[in-house]
Symmetry: C2
Subunit: 411 residues, 2 copies
C-alpha cells in the first residue's frame, strides 16, 4: 500500500493511470460489420484514391470548359451531344472540341471533359444539340479522383471509437476488416451478508442486488464485457477465493460493498495480496464515494467500490470508466451534456472535497431550476429520479440559492 | 400524394407523426437482464416498500433518541449494550430505556430504537457500556421503511429508455421482467446502378455501399433492428419487388439513392403503391437532404433518402429517428451535446431553408473556432472529419465570421 492520504478524484485517477500501460489490451482483427463502437487499435490508411475517378456533383452535361467561355442567355454556346454516360459505367467515348455528353450526379467524366454544366443552364435543342446558357470554369461541378481521400492518407486514427458514419466511410474504401482493441473483461463481485439475488424473496434486514445490474450496464456502455461473479458473504476467505478467481479470468475487477469498517479493510487486504503494487489509495476526497479503494495488481486494475448504489454510479463514471478507456487506448474525451440551470436551494460543501449532487430539473416561469434530491432517501431511486448531477469543485464551500450551475445530464 | 410543396423539417416530421399512431408497435415482456436501453411500454409500479425496514445510514449505535437528550462531552449519556445487529438479519431483541445496540450502515433498527448515534460520537467504556457524547433527534441517521419507494408508487413511467441505474433500481425492487416496446425492424434498400458491395473490386464510375453501413449503425442506436436488403439496380420493377418484400417483413422501410431525377420519381411511385396515404412530401427545405421523400403506407413509414452519405446521415437524425421514437413511444427528448464556438468563415444560407454545416473544431489562442468543411469534397470523409454540425435556421441568411454558434457534437 503506497498511500493512505485522501486524494482528489483527478489525482486518484492519475495515480491509477500511471501504474497502467496505455492500450494495455491486445488488438484483434474483426469484420467491419462487428466494429460499431469499437476502438481502433492502429491508424487506418486509405488503400486507394476516392472517389477514384473524376465525378460529377450535379445532373447536367460534361463539357470542355473552354467551349463555354463567354456563353450567356443572349449568346449561348452550341455543343453536339456525343452520348449519354450511364451511372456506374466508364464512358466509352471522349469529348472533343464542341462536344458534350449528358451525365448524372455521381457519373464519371469522359476523357476530354473538364467541367459539368448544370441541367438548369442548358436548353436541349434536339437529340444531338444543346445550347449552353452560362459558362463554367475548369473543374466546376466536378470532384477530383482523389479529392475525398488520397491513397495512403490516414482515414481514421488509432484510439477512435467507430461511429456509424466511420464504418460507412471504411466500407466506402473497401475495408472489410479492422483492428480494434480487445474489449476488457470486467468482473463484478458483490460482498455483504445482507445482499440477496434480485429474484429472491427479501426478509427485513436484507436488500437485493442492485449494483451488479447498474455496473454491468455501465461496463457495456464503456466498451467492456461484464461478468457477474455473484454475491459473497462478509468473510475474508470467501472474498479472497472469489476475487482470486475474478482476477484470473478478467482484465479489471470490481468489488462492491463491505459497508462496515472491518470488511473494508478485508477488501484492501485481498487486493494487496493479488499483486504489486496493490492498493494505491483507500479513500478519496469526494461525496458520495469517499471509501473507494483503487489499486493495480500485476498490471490489472482492481477497485473496491462502496456499496451505496449512488456512490457506485459516481465512482464508476469518475474512476472506472477512465481506466477502461486508458486500457483500450481511447484518445477522445467524452463531451458532457450540460444544461444551464439555477440552484433551487443552498447547498453546503466542504473545502477540499468534491461533491456530486443529484438534482431534478424543473421549469418555472421560463427558468430551469436544479432541485437537489435529499441524499438520505435516494438509496435506490434517487438516480432514477435525478435528471442530472451538479458538481461542486473542491475549492467551493457550497452553492447559494439562485446560483447559476451547469447540470450534467444523466443519460 | 398529398403535398408537393417543400416543407420545413419540423413541419415534415409533424406531418409524418400525424399519420402514425404513437407507440404503434406492440409491447413484449423480457427479462430485466435484457432490458438495457429498451423503452418501457407501461408504467412500472413498486411491488413493495423500500428499503422495507428502518435502516441505519451510518455505523454506530441504535438508541432511543430521548435517552440521549442533553448528552454532551462534559456530561455523556450512559447506555447499556443490548447486543450486536448482524448485517442482513432481523434483530432478535428490542431496545428499552437506557439500552443500545451496535449497528452498521444498512443494518435494521431493532424494535424500540428510533435513531442511530454515529460511532464517532461515542466512547466505548466496556463490552457492556457506552458513553454517548452528543444527542440525536428522533429518526436521525435512519431511513424509514418506505422512504425510498412506497408500495404502489410509479417507479418508472411508460416511454422511458432504461439506463443502467434504472435496471439496478428495478432489480432492487425484485422486478425480474419488464414490458418494453418491441424493437422496430428497419429494412434498408440501396438503389443505383453505380453501387457495389463494399467487398467487391471497384471499377472507375462505381462506388461502394456506404449508406447501408451508416444506416444500420444509426438504426441500432435509435433502438431498432436493421435488415440489409441489398443493392437494387435503377429499374422500376426491381425496385418495386424489393420494396414490396421489405414492406412486408419490416416496420419501417428506408430506400436510399436514386440520384438522377427519373429514378427519384420511380421511388415515389413505388412508395405510393405500397398503401394509403402514400407519399406525404417529396422534397424538404433543407441542405443537405432536399430530395427526401417521406411517406406512410398502411401505418408503416417509408422513406426515400438521397444517396449522398452526408444527406443520409442528416435525414436519418432529423426525420427517421423521431419517427422510430414515436413508434416505440419514447417520451424523452434527446439532450444534444452543444459546444460554443466562433465561426471561422462567412457562410451564406438561403432564407426559408435550414442548413446543416459540417464543421471541424479547432482551438486558437484559447478560443474555439468552427471551421466549415467544404461540401464539395466530403462525399464520404467529411462526416468522419467533422467534429460537429452547425444549424442555420430558416430565418437567417447566413453566418458571419466571428459569430458565436452552438456546435452539435457528432457522437
Amino acid at each position: 500500500m503506497l498511500d493512505k492520504k485522501y486524494l482528489l478524484p483527478k489525482d486518484a485517477v492519475n495515480l491509477l493511470l500511471e501504474h497502467l500501460k496505455f492500450r494495455s489490451l491486445p488488438g484483434e482483427i474483426i469484420y467491419l460489420e462487428e466494429a460499431y463502437d469499437r476502438v481502433t487499435y492502429e491508424d487506418i490508411f486509405s488503400p486507394e484514391d476516392l472517389p477514384g475517378f473524376h465525378r460529377s456533383t450535379v445532373d447536367g452535361f460534361a463539357v470542355r470548359s473552354m467551349d463555354t467561355f463567354g456563353a450567356r442567355e443572349s449568346s449561348p454556346a452550341y455543343l453536339n451531344m456525343k452520348g449519354d454516360i450511364p451511372m456506374g459505367a466508364i464512358p466509352n467515348f471522349s469529348i472533343s472540341q464542341g462536344e458534350c455528353a449528358s451525365i448524372a450526379t455521381g457519373g464519371m467524366l469522359p476523357e476530354g471533359a473538364d467541367a459539368v454544366v448544370m441541367i438548369e443552364h442548358v436548353n436541349v435543342v434536339s437529340q444531338d444539340l444543346i445550347e449552353v446558357l452560362r459558362s463554367v470554369s475548369p473543374w466546376e461541378n466536378v470532384i477530383f479522383k482523389d479529392e475525398d481521400v488520397k491513397r495512403g492518407e490516414i482515414v481514421i486514427k488509432a484510439g477512435k471509437r467507430l461511429k456509424p458514419q466511420d464504418i460507412g466511410a471504411l466500407a466506402g474504401l473497401g475495408i472489410g476488416e479492422v483492428k480494434v482493441a480487445k474489449k476488457p473483461v470486467v468482473s463484478i463481485i458483490l460482498t455483504g451478508d445482507e445482499i440477496i439475488p434480485h429474484t429472491e424473496k427479501v426478509s427485513p434486514g436484507q436488500v437485493r442486488d442492485v449494483n451488479s445490474f447498474t455496473l454491468s450496464g455501465l461496463a457495456v456502455r464503456a466498451g467492456a464485457v461484464p461478468i457477474k461473479m455473484g454475491i459473497v458473504r462478509d468473510d475474508y476467505n470467501e472474498i479472497k477465493t472469489r476475487v482470486d478467481k475474478a482476477y484470473e479470468i478478467s482484465d479489471l475487477v470490481l468489488i462492491t460493498g463491505g459497508t462496515s469498517a472491518g470488511v473494508k479493510d478485508m477488501t484492501a487486504k485481498v487486493i494487496d495480496e493479488l499483486g504489486s503494487p496493490g492498493v494505491l489509495f483507500h479513500g478519496v476526497s469526494i461525496k458520495p464515494g469517499k471509501p473507494l479503494i483503487g489499486g493495480v495488481c500485476g498490471g490489472k486494475p482492481v477497485f473496491g467500490l462502496p456499496g451505496h448504489p449512488v456512490a457506485v454510479y459516481i465512482c464508476f463514471e469518475l474512476f472506472v470508466r477512465p481506466v477502461i478507456e486508458h486500457m483500450i487506448g481511447l484518445q477522445e474525451r467524452k463531451v458532457k451534456r450540460l444544461i444551464k440551470a439555477k440552484m433551487a436551494r443552498n447547498l453546503h460543501s466542504q473545502s477540499g472535497r468534491e461533491d456530486f449532487i443529484r438534482v431534478s430539473l424543473e421549469e418555472r416561469d421560463g427558468q430551469l431550476w436544479a432541485i437537489p434530491l435529499l441524499s438520505k432517501s435516494g438509496l435506490i431511486m434517487s438516480l432514477v429520479r435525478a435528471g442530472g448531477i451538479v458538481h461542486i469543485p473542491s475549492e467551493l464551500l457550497g452553492l447559494q440559492e439562485g446560483d447559476e450551475v451547469f447540470v450534467e445530464v444523466i443519460d
